[in-house]
Amino acid sequence: MRIGMFFREALRSIRANAAISVAATVTALIAVFILGAFIPSFMYVRSAVDAQTAKVDVDVYIADTATVPQVNALREKLDGLRTDGTVAAVTYVSKDDALRIMKERLRDPSVLDELPSNPLPAKFNVQPTEAENADVIVAAVTNDPALDPTEGIVYPESTADRLLTAAKFVQWAGFVLIGILLLAAVLLIGNTIRLSIFARRREVEVMRLVGATNWFIRWPFMIEGVICGLVGAVVAVGMLWGIKVGVVDAWAAGADTALTKTGSAAGTIAFPLLTVVLVGAGALLGAVGSGITLRRFLKV
């Protein structure tokens, strides 16, 4: 019942201060729109980088001369790394497998038939849980007696490093940007509502003088902020949806399919989830904006 009254109060104050309410709503709309355009882009780039770093695997080649106990020892060492969480998976690729894979890759596999024996060494393909762990794996197996003396350990050292740096940069830049955006949105909404409250400072003073508690005064303002935030967010989501359907999806469909297929590991946030996040952000922006701003006016 009281909630109903606060709600009515909020609606009346939106009506009574239409211009300011519209300004707050538009502010929320812009903030949520920018956020909504940024989050999927950021997540796409991140997931693309992740997909690349996931490919940083370590090949540990086994000497043809290695004895069975030596190979087993190496396998146990790698399994040990898996139990402590450094390694996600270890796959054994035998000499025959290696040859088969090689044949599949070659345009003219017949060249291999001319070889007197299989020159390819067997290997363990090691997938680190994190790209950074490649170093640990390499350190653990260097000097292992079972290692193939010529091939040794192969991993894309420089690529991994570069990808890691890029991934970290994208991640931090993303967090900083989102932080700045959110702060800007809160300040903007706060400022808009401050204008509204400033206009009604005398009114708030009178409310205090007839015995209204701070929360009694605050609730309608917060609800007002939430309503403006929600409306702004919903409109922004609608606009984003239009852009997604009209521009992004169309572009993705027209883009080189081969390219999208190879990059298929990279995805982004699902639109329904994004909608929930953005609408929630809009409501929160409104509530926090008005809540913070109101504090200074409730001291009478």
């Binding site: 009574a16 005398r202 009114e203 003073e205 009178v206 003088l209 007839v210 015995g211």
Partner: protein
């Protein structure tokens, strides 16, 4: 004015409410003694006791820039009293009142209301102090974008009254001050005197234990003034303490109540059953 001077002021006749069992305090006659059953007065912060309703001890109030509001006032107002506060413009009457509702805090000295030292009252308790006090402000202090009825309703909503109760009480109290046909007017659509009466209605609607009125008849014609004073007196008879700041010499002289006279922030006279001016034998105009 809606109430013509020849109408015999029917608008001020107390609404006759039949006596009912005091089980539901809200069914009690409009201005029965303030209900003490603890339910409706749940937020009441006044401490029961034999002490005075209002007590000032050496109160000095200096505004920014050295302007003196009050300059060492000590006095008490007993529970159930009817007191006039008089004095020339700028003598500190409004300052005195604003200290009681803690709109202001004294520069030094202490103000006690209903047994509570306002200097020690936490900020979060101030709303409850103000609910126990009904205050008619000199400048009305109505909410500008609410109608007369909504302004009065706000004071009821603040204290958590139901919508039903609000609908019942608001028209009742507005009729009592003679505003039957102006419920839906905004303050700017009302005359000064009408706004003043909305302010009075708002102060009364919560059945305050202490009723303070700063110039309640300042904008009213003599007939309406008389009606309002009559109403305040009736409310006082139900046990409510009433404090009225006024320049209205006729009313003060006619009613012969306690008079506290201020001058330049000091109490220069405090007499029971007195008139506006000190009785020096001179003939009053």
């Amino acid at each position: 004015m809606s109430d013509g001077p020849d109408s015999g002021r029917p608008t001020f006749t107390l609404v006759e409410v039949p006596d009912t069992t005091p089980v539901d305090p809200d069914m009690a006659p409009m201005f029965s003694a303030p209900v003490q059953d603890g339910k409706r007065r749940k937020g009441d912060i006044f401490r029961p006791g034999p002490g005075p309703m209002v007590e000032f001890r050496n109160v000095v109030k200096t505004y920014d820039g050295n302007s003196r509001g009050l300059d060492g006032v000590s006095l008490g107002i007993g529970t159930g009293e009817f007191v006039f506060l008089v004095g020339p413009s700028g003598s500190g009457k409004s300052t005195f009142i604003r200290l009681i509702i803690r709109e202001l805090r004294p520069t030094s000295g202490s103000v006690t209301v209903g047994g509570r030292d306002l200097g020690e009252l936490r900020r979060s308790k101030v709303p409850y102090l103000r609910r126990a006090i009904g205050c008619v402000f000199q400048d009305f202090r109505l909410l500008p974008d609410r109608t007369a009825a909504e302004n009065v309703a706000y004071a009821l909503q603040v204290t958590g009254h139901s919508q039903k109760e609000v609908r019942r009480r608001v028209p009742e109290i507005l009729s009592l001050v003679g505003l039957d046909d102006k419920f839906d007017r905004l303050p700017r659509e009302l005359s000064g005197g009408e706004q003043q009466r909305v302010s009075i209605a708002r102060a009364l609607v919560n059945h305050p234990r202490l009723l303070i009125a700063d110039e309640p008849t300042g904008n009213l014609d003599p007939e309406t003034s008389l009606g309002i004073m009559d109403l305040l007196l009736r409310i006082n008879r139900t046990g409510t303490t009433v404090l009225v700041a006024t320049h209205d010499q006729h009313t003060v002289d006619r009613m012969q109540m306690r008079v506290i006279a201020l001058e330049a922030g000091r109490v220069v006279r405090d007499e029971e059953s007195a008139g506006y001016h000190e009785d020096t034998g001179e003939v009053l105009a």
